[in-house]
Every structure is written in C-alpha cells, then in structure tokens.
Amino acid sequence: MKPALPHDAHRRLTLAWLLALAGSPHAAEIKTAEDSVDNERWRKVRASLFGERPITEDDSVVVLEAPARAEDAAVVPIAIRAQFEQAPARHVRKLTLVIDNNPSPLAAVFTYTLDSGRADIETRVRIDEYTFVRAIAETGDGRLHMSKRFVKASGGCSAPPGKDPQAAQATLGQMRLSVKPDAPPDRPVLAQLMISHPNDSGLVMDQATRQYTPAWFVRQIDVRHNGKLVLQADVDFAISENPHLRFYFTPGAGASGGELTAEVVDSKDLRFEQRTTLRPGAR
C-alpha cells in the first residue's frame, strides 16, 4: 500500500513539477484535449496521488455536487456528500478534491475519522477554466471511488481573483465557528467554519517590478472536538477568498457539550485558532 501523502510543501512542489511537464492548458487545446475526461493533467495528478491503484468511477461512496456553470468564477459552491455514515466496518478515510484545469489542480485533501460522523464537506472553490472537478474517496479498506462533474467556467468579466483582498487582509485570521443546534443525540452534528483570509494564489506579476506577488493562503485546518480530530483539511488557493467549510462531527455516545476547536495555519506560517463551547445536552 502506498504511504500516506505528506502534508507539506514538498508534495506540492513535486506536483507543480509534474504539471510543468504536462504544460498548462492553452487556447489551441481548450475545446479538445483539456475538456476530455481523460486529459493529460488528470493523468499526471492521478499518477502522482494514486499511482496504479484502481479507481471505481461511480457515486456509491461519495457524490460530488457542483454547478454545471460557475456563476462566479471566484466563488463556486461544491459539496461532497458521503453515502453512508462513518462506522468501523465502513468509513471514508480521505477525500481528495481535484480541479483538472486549475493552476493548482490538487485543491484539497480532507482526512476523516470515525468521530467525523459523515465524510461530507461543503466549500467554495475558484474555477479557472472549463474543467472536470473530481472527488476521490479512499475508504477504510483502501479502495478508491471517484465522483466527478464537469463545470463550465463563468467567463466574461468574472474571474477567480478575490473581490476585495485588501478588506480580507484587514480582518485576517478572524474566524467564525458554529454548530447547528438541536441535533438529535449521538447523531452527526453539522458545523461551519469561516476564515477571513485573502487566500491568494500569488500567480500575478506586478507589471512595474516584474516580480510575482507572494502567495498567501490557508494551507491547513484541523478541527477537534474535545481534543479528538474530526476533520483535517490540507488546502490551498483553489479555495475561495475567505475559506468556508461545512462539515460534520459526532460528539459521541454520552458526551455532553465540550469544545470544538479549529486551528488554522497559512502559507506564511501564521496560526489562528477559534473555539466554540457546545451546550451540554442541547449540543
């Protein structure tokens, strides 16, 4: 079995190098090769992440929800819905989100535990180009299943860069962590995390200096309930400005109240933390 992916810059650099070999999509191929489900970039990403492992393409483990056309290229809502709750006999270990034709196709890797309740995730991403978006789930038995959707870019004057990076920076690191109240006992509870952050790709050349502006984005999010990991997200600037996540966790049999914490690290190694206390009984 392949070793787990390291959560660090090394993996990204490797992937970036592989993509440099593959080349980026350009106008001449837009309507042909890059639109194909088995395009070059996906094959490189697949090889890097999963080697020769077989991937079953169906919606039996997770279903990816994405709009057919991105209304706003900078804020495209996507959801990955697990088709069963986490249980020892059957659970999702990891969810990989790939956006083939983005500059950084490996958009996110979400790691789940049994305390996650459901291996769902809802977030917003930037979509640069007409592209396949893929959710690849690895279950506890090591098998891989993929759900995918084709998303048309919004085009026109809608573009992936954020609308007000200066404002996002001004409130950098402010977070909202909330839990949907009144969930039945011992059932997965829906939580929401919002992080104020420009989440900038930095793939922009300043015309005057000819220097690239530095990237500045959230790279890791750890959510714990009473100290136990319920979600780990390894992300980058494919996530929209002001990253937004909706996910589940199970407070556990007999657990009452407790604390949900979110720890965030960004690409400049800035760290932010938010906690919320769950009301006992009422969650």
Partner: protein, 323 residues
C-alpha cells in the same frame, strides 16, 4: 498643430437624424460615430450583452472630452478593435493629442481597447492611463483570465492582437479630494471610491458641461453586476447622490438627464438583493440553496439570466460575515 474648434462640424440633431434615417454604412460596426452630449463632450454607446457572448465586445459606454490642449478618453471598449474604432471616432472630431485614457474600473469591456489608444499620437508621447490606485493590482490579477476568455469567446490572439493591455500609470487615491486633470481650459475631476461595483471604481466629472461619468456605479437597462461589495456600493450611491450634474453616463445604458434620481433603480435592486440574501441567511440556507431560491432576476432589467445568480452568490459570500 492647430487646435480644432470644440464645436462639432455638424449639429447634433442633424447627425442623429442622419443616423436614424440613413441605412447605416456597411462598416458601421467598425466606424461608429460619437454622439455629442455637449460642446467638447462625446459618447459612444455600447450594446447590452455580456462581454464575450457570441463574440460581442462593444458592450460598455465609452467617450471622450476635448480641451484646448488635448483629449481625455473615458474607457476604451472591450477589445483592440473597439479601441481602434473609438480612436477613429475621436479623430473624426479632433486632431489634438490624446493625453489621458481614463479607466473607470478593471472589467474587460471597459479597458481592453487601451493598447489601441496608445497609438493615438503617432510619434508623440502616448496617452497616460489613469485609474483607481487599486486598478493596477486588480488588472494584474485578472488579465490572464481576460486573455483566456477573449481567446475562447472572441478571437484567438493571433487574429486580433490582444498583445498588451496598457496598464495604468496614474493612480488616483481614495480620498475625499478630487484628482484633477487639465485638458487645457477644461478640467476633469476624478474620484476614487471605496469598494463598490469593484474595488477600483473611478468617476469623472466634466465641470464645463456638467457631465458625470459614472463607470459601472450605476446601470441602466443592463442588470447591475456585483463584483465588489454590496454594502459599500450602497454607501457610494449615497455619496454620488450628493454630486450635482446636468447629465450622467452609466457604464451600460442610456445617458441620464435626470441626475441623481436616475440612480434609484440601481439602488433599489441592491437593497432588494441585500434584503433577500439576509432573509435566506436567517433561514439557514446554504449558498447553493440561496442561489436556487433567489435565482430569478427581478423584472425591469435585461441580462438577469447572465448576472443575477452571480450577484446572489457574491452578496451571500459578503453578507454572511455581517451576521
């Protein structure tokens, strides 16, 4: 170089009548005639369409103002061809150098003609490009996407050289004061605004004629497009309402003769959007659910299908932070 008289060669009504009665010349799309608004102030209307849709690019209003010394162009159109057509329209009226190209904001329908306008003065110095202090960064971030959209939807770069989008080199800071450009006995007053339609909106007031160029801060006919901040935009509209003008030019749509009441429809649309999205947030709707629920554009606007759901998306992502 002799200064051209500021009055046009033909009186405006006659020119309009001619345009209406005559079949337009075969190359009308390439040689549009500027419409005179007042002595020295001209306007080239765009058509209502999403930029790039079926290859259409001249979808925003542009214009120019003539002083005794030089000409300022306000927005340059949605393609190099639009820029060339605009320059030809300027040259039909004045041979003075173009000293400024003023971009009201970053969207491609307003500035992809910039590079063509750099050719305005032959061997003389090219026009200076003027914009909000945040325009340069916004353009640097978006330019690759505009190029790609242009190549995909309008013309491959080899066919209509989208070689260079002339970036701004005069930055107007966001302060209470206006930034003045003197065209020779003709002063333009520029104001850079806090984030509204975009994070780099600029208005231009031509005091001599009382003409206020609004950029996309106000829309007519075409649904307003939110690509900045909804709350900020409503505040900017309040400030704009306090500015006196004989006429006002929206980025899209017909010239307003009734300023400031002409901004009411834009204000009402944004207020309704804010109320509807806040109600959806109150109900706990997700972003996707809010877009589904509110996705039908209100009556009385064109291009709602193209832009309303996008506006709901942007408004939701903004307003969820003000809970």
């Amino acid at each position: 170089m002799k200064a051209m008289p500021q009055q046009p060669l033909h009186a405006v009504p006659a020119a309009l009548l001619a345009a209406l009665l005559c079949c337009p010349p075969v190359h009308a799309a390439d040689a549009p005639q500027a419409v005179q608004l007042a002595p020295g102030a001209y306007h080239l209307p765009g058509e209502h369409a999403p930029w790039g849709d079926q290859g259409r690019t001249r979808v925003a209003n542009t214009g120019f103002v003539i002083g005794t010394r030089c000409v300022a162009v306000i927005d340059s159109g949605g393609s190099p061809a639009d820029g060339r057509a605009l320059l030809a329209a300027v040259r039909r009226v004045s041979t003075l150098p173009v000293c400024y190209v003023i971009n009201t904001h970053v969207h491609p329908d307003h500035l992809l003609g910039n590079a063509a306008l750099m050719q305005a003065n032959g061997s003389g110095p090219p026009p200076r490009v003027v914009g909000h202090a945040r325009l340069a960064a916004a353009l640097a971030a978006r330019e690759p996407y505009y190029r790609r959209a242009f190549a995909r939807d309008v013309a491959a770069p080899s066919q209509d050289g989208l070689d260079r989008i002339a970036p701004p080199d005069v930055a107007v800071q966001e302060t209470k004061e206006v930034h003045q450009l003197d065209l020779g006995a003709r002063v333009l007053e520029l104001r850079a605004w806090p984030t509204a339609h975009t994070d780099n909106d600029l208005t231009v007031l031509d005091r001599a004629s009382g003409t206020l160029w609004l950029g996309d801060l106000v829309f007519e006919g075409h649904l307003p497009v939110l690509d900045g901040k909804l709350a900020g935009w409503l505040q900017v509209l309040d400030a704009l309402a306090g500015m006196r003008a004989t006429r006002a030019i929206p980025g899209h749509g017909r010239v307003f003769e009734d300023w400031p009441s002409a901004l009411q429809p834009t204000r009402r649309y944004l207020q309704t959007l804010r109320g509807d999205v806040n109600a959806a947030l109150d109900d706990g709707a997700s972003l996707s659910q809010a877009v589904e629920r509110l996705g039908l554009a209100p009556e009385g606007w064109l291009l709602g299908d193209a832009f309303h759901r996008r506006n709901v998306t942007a408004a939701y992502a903004e307003l969820e932070w003000s809970r």
